[in-house]
Symmetry: D2
Subunit: 412 residues, 4 copies
């Protein structure tokens, strides 16, 4: 069965590159690997490091395949946080068994394998480093990046993504390293409309990323689709004012975060183990896909919380624009059409676009609020409290943190 | 890697049976296959039939493996709704490609394969039939059951489960067929505290299931953990009054349904495509596992909405009672302990049981209510409107249904 | 101006009595005096005693007038909790300045004065006593009642109401005392569908009240309109089973209490200073009036939270049945019709029944839940902790109570 | 009794003026007359005109007295919308019975009468006119104002308030007319942080009001306390930038309006008949009073929704700063202290500041959202659709409006 998936002779017909695809139409990204693999049991929340590429390759492969079937045009190698420094940060023992290099190489191989079951490209990714947060020099930070990028080059990935950066300065350093490879570079920050953690506006962040060499810019993670598109709009306006051009990209959360503060969903009290009631429906995501497309975003994907069915929702909303449907749509008649086959007549009555677009879903949680007060510690890169180290958090440290948190909350 | 998972010589050391395990401790079930595979892109909502066992075996195998790692002691073969009548009901075309027999046989093989990667048992399941809902005779309904059971016997499954029945009469007929095989029989109805659809109380349902031959009785699906345990308590009391003994079992939804009516979550307007905000957190499930255990339930699992991490939560709550932990717990320090490795200090401050147990999560949906008004059509087995057929629903029929639904709602 | 209100010669045309009115149609009660006067600044929350009849007669008179204009057919003299024991309970100093007798006499005079500005009757009321809660004898309790009733007789009130009793035994004692006067007696308990605090069912409470001599029975206070009518329905069924006849009466809260436990809104954490978000709209009350009427309730009024405009809503809903409208309806075109005179066109667009009946009002409180966990101390008459005394609560006692409350809540 | 309220010889000891009081401390305003009198049954929602000063003087007098007792230092004569044009607008018949002059004169008399029962001042008020909204000239609009101001001068009121203006241009015209009398002038707009309806920022509005002659500036109505203080902060900053000085004033709604758009609560679907669940608690108002005081606001009052107990909450929060307490505080032990006299021990346990400050009140409305989508018609002064006339709205006009409203909403 699996052999049927593989293209007979992939070398014979080289795939169209990312920039060409963006020029000609819309590219669908994938979803949130670490969150989804955490729920499936292969990634640990807290460190969020991706040693699963070595430990449980079949689980990573299957998730790639789920996204490929859902319509993803890009398989992003699972290299999130796979720097040696992060693998050994604060008591994380992943780095003792596997080197960053091994994890990254396995990630590249898995992504390529599944990408070649379809017409997808493979991307390698860099993200923000403990090194930068601890206040180290540009040179030290770029050494971290260079080590990862080398693996991507060795595995001949199709393009590179710098993502999940809170400080524009750090992503500029990452873009530089990527740009030097000659491969196309996408760059997305995890910021909201208020801009980066050092006070640089979203529009200026976009301008600086393009000037540093990014071909594609936008946002990922930290905020819900609606807030993320607001930020992309500010970036678009910033680029227009500066007379610059770049493709736009958005890979938001699949969690509703109207109450998030400047640092996004990390600061919400529900992060990361009680976000369930915030999960977007497939209809929320279709709305997002339409709004993104109308804003001019051409690389439309998702981040934490995005499951395969969310990506399928993007592909279904843009089916006409793309002139094709995803494999998984075989298992999903549009707008709930499959319900026409349901046994109960009142469920069949729900098989319509009008029904699902107008529904305001109940939470089933009458003792819970609709919004939460985010933690607001206002800490950013260079702060002493963000100095990273390999020792685990002690109980004493934890108690101090917990006390501080209680005090912060009760001041509200 | 995968070869390491298989037990060298499984025949050499026969596994302990289900009744023996229940006598000695607590057995953890698995989660909701069709809902999870729908999100992963392999099952169609509406018919909910499991042809994926033939079409995408690796996806089914991987989900079994996720649950095995999470702590499931039972691999339930994916045979839900795999009767020939259901595979061809109301325009479902699954039955044209694969016979019920082929789907069931593949399901048994996949479940056994993964079960033998650990110490799990394999169960085959029967569920309610269109035949019964259409008002056919006991004989006709039992023919449907017999065809499925034969496959389970041929594949030498460890025990049988009759589940997802709304009418005690039909589950009695199913239990009889199962009992005749000589294998242990578990029987769970998808009912709430109000009893079955024909007005038989939960306590009486339990009594009748035991008298029909069930070794294990309880509820599955349709209601949230708290309501489900309430129903199990009523069953327990019914058995005590009747002087009967049986093991208790619960496999509820992982959705909060305080507002559900008699027919459970099917009638909630969010079913099945907007249930996200109702999904239970892992902490909700730990609470459920504890309460189930204290009530005397010894077969504790889940149904629709239960993902691998929910099953892991059961295994973590009962770690002491079971004297072991699940494989996936390697990737999950208890009570959020992994957060001690998080970069941001205020997230590290959340690494405690006290924090997560007391959190009332916000929905991020300020324009949505906390509860919904369920549809209440009051239709049950034998009603003309439930007569099943192989023709697809026509547009005219759909319009009539939709109009009726609107009227029903506005009467409230 | 005020003189115009008074009937020229009231003696010339004696008013129709309460029982006659109930036989011929529907009688509208008044609203919640102590809660409304607390907001206006004349009654203290906690003791809730009505010394305002002596201290600020013009405020009490004006509230009577507001209700008369709103459509009340009965002016209930403000004698709630006006027993000498209550006036000096737990540090209350009201009793040092005014005797219970003086307060009651002033109340009668004020009620009569306003009643004669229209066609209203005047009722005197008894409610549950600290004496009973403290576990004293029937004789002692009836002495308390007798003292109040004597004032009502001296002032020749039209009928008597025993209301706000949690124990059917105590209300039987009160009814006996009232019955002896020869005046018609109404009797309402502040109970929900679970029955009285000693476990007597709602149906049996109704039967016992009628047997003790009540002409009119029902419920008041403690629960919202919907729950209260549920209780009245149980009472009605109880009377039917017993072959008894009586008029039905309901005077519920104007607060939504879906989450209240057995003791009603007293146990909700919001009682009494944060109930605002639970206040019923006028449309909620119109719905209540219709449902009450259809159930057969003929004495329809309100209790705590009912303001004049809520009573007007009853009179407007039943305008046709009553063949008249209230004075205050001059200032209230039906179903929001007055909005047709609003400046802004989109507000004029709201002038319809359809609009207001279908609106689901937002709370403007996204950080608050929709339901609360009630305190559940399970304490009732005869419990040591309910022993009443004239000393004020000490700080030590308060701390013990507060600690106990915190512990009770965190056990949930 | 009432005679005791009057000061023996008011002329003998002239009261301190408003500016002097503001210089020396904090002045407490009153609450929302038309909303409160609508609930009591004396004002019609829609036109909101104050003919009650002639029709039911005792009701107006009593409400003044309630506010005086609650701590109001200012009795604002009930002259809201009492212009001849408004009294005959869109089918309002109030103007046929009473002239604007008569209504205003009666209002002045009633306010003075109650003010002299204490040490309160009397203010006369102007508000926005249909004349301006219809696009008429400055001269025509000022004629409207002049007619009202003449009554205030004839009755020798203590100072004048221009309030409830959405356009800074119109309030400038009003201030000019008031300033010419030589009396102190307060000026508050019903705007939020986005500024006036023609796009003038809040800061610039403040500057223009002061330049036009206002001694006191700020906001009233349309938004909740928190949003209103945000706007006042913007005004304060605008004045500081311009080097201007004025006293600051805030009289917000007592309704939570986090979801309001630019035109405030008028646009919320709940306006005006389903705002109950948005009503602020007394604790919300204490918080408001503290924040207002800390911002430097010295005239602190309320508008629609403010009831006497809300004003009392201001006076209690600022008891120390003012060196006195309100009369109604006799009936309100601070921070729920009166509950120490409650019969039930668990209610006594709520008698503390900590309890009430931390409570997040439940709405009791699980089927309702926490926020609503405001109507957004974007219509402002000069728009054809705001042209006012004396004819009533026809049914045809209403249907067009209602259809338009439905379309506007479904576009969201």
């Amino acid at each position: 069965m699996e052999s049927k998936r593989r293209r007979k002779n992939p070398e014979a017909m080289p795939k169209k590159g990312i920039l060409e695809r963006l020029r000609d139409g819309v590219v669908i990204g994938d979803g949130g690997f670490v969150f989804q693999l955490e729920k499936r049991g292969y990634v640990k929340a807290g460190p969020w490091t991706p040693e699963a590429t070595c430990e449980n390759p079949e689980a990573v492969r299957q998730l790639h395949r789920d996204f490929l079937r859902a319509g993803s045009d890009v398989m992003q190698a699972l290299t999130f946080y796979a720097s040696d420094t992060k693998l050994e940060n604060r008591g994380n023992k992943a780095g003792q068994t596997f080197s960053g290099k091994a994890i990254n190489a396995a990630a590249c191989k898995l992504a390529r394998e599944v990408a070649d079951e379809g017409d997808a490209l493979v991307a390698g990714g860099l993200s923000q480093t403990p090194t930068y947060l601890s206040g180290r020099s540009k040179k030290e930070v770029q050494v971290d990046f260079q080590k990862q990028v080398q693996v991507f080059v060795d595995n001949n990935l199709d393009f590179l993504i710098c993502e999940y950066f809170e400080h524009v300065e750090e992503i500029e350093w990452a873009i530089e390293v990527c740009k030097a490879t000659g491969k196309p570079v996408a760059a997305t920050m995890c910021i909201g409309p208020e801009g980066d953690m050092h006070g640089v506006s979203a529009g200026d962040c976009a301008v600086r990323m393009v000037k540093a060499g990014a071909d594609i810019v936008g946002v990922n993670c930290h905020f819900d689709p609606s807030i993320s598109l607001h930020t992309v709009r500010l970036m678009k306006e910033g680029l227009e004012r500066a007379g610059l051009k770049a493709f736009l990209m958005s890979q938001p959360l699949a969690y509703h975060t109207p109450d998030a503060g400047k640092q996004g969903f990390i600061d919400l009290p529900e992060f990361p183990f009680a976000l369930e009631s915030r999960i977007c429906t497939r209809w929320d995501i279709q709305k997002y896909a339409r709004e993104a497309y109308e804003l001019g975003v051409r690389y439309i994907g998702g981040c934490c919380g995005f499951e395969p069915y969310h990506v399928r929702a993007i592909s279904e909303e843009l089916m006409k624009e793309r002139g094709k449907k995803s494999m998984a749509t075989e298992k999903h008649d549009l707008w709930g059409g499959g319900l026409l086959m349901h046994t109960k007549p009142w469920v069949r009555a729900r098989a319509s676009r009008e029904y699902w677009e107008n529904l305001r879903p109940g939470s089933g949680r009458p003792y819970c609020p609709s919004m939460s007060q985010p933690d607001e510690w206002g800490v950013t890169a260079g702060s002493q409290v963000l100095m990273q180290h390999s020792e685990a958090t002690t109980e004493k440290e934890f108690k101090e943190l917990a006390n501080h948190a209680v005090k912060t909350r009760s001041r509200k």
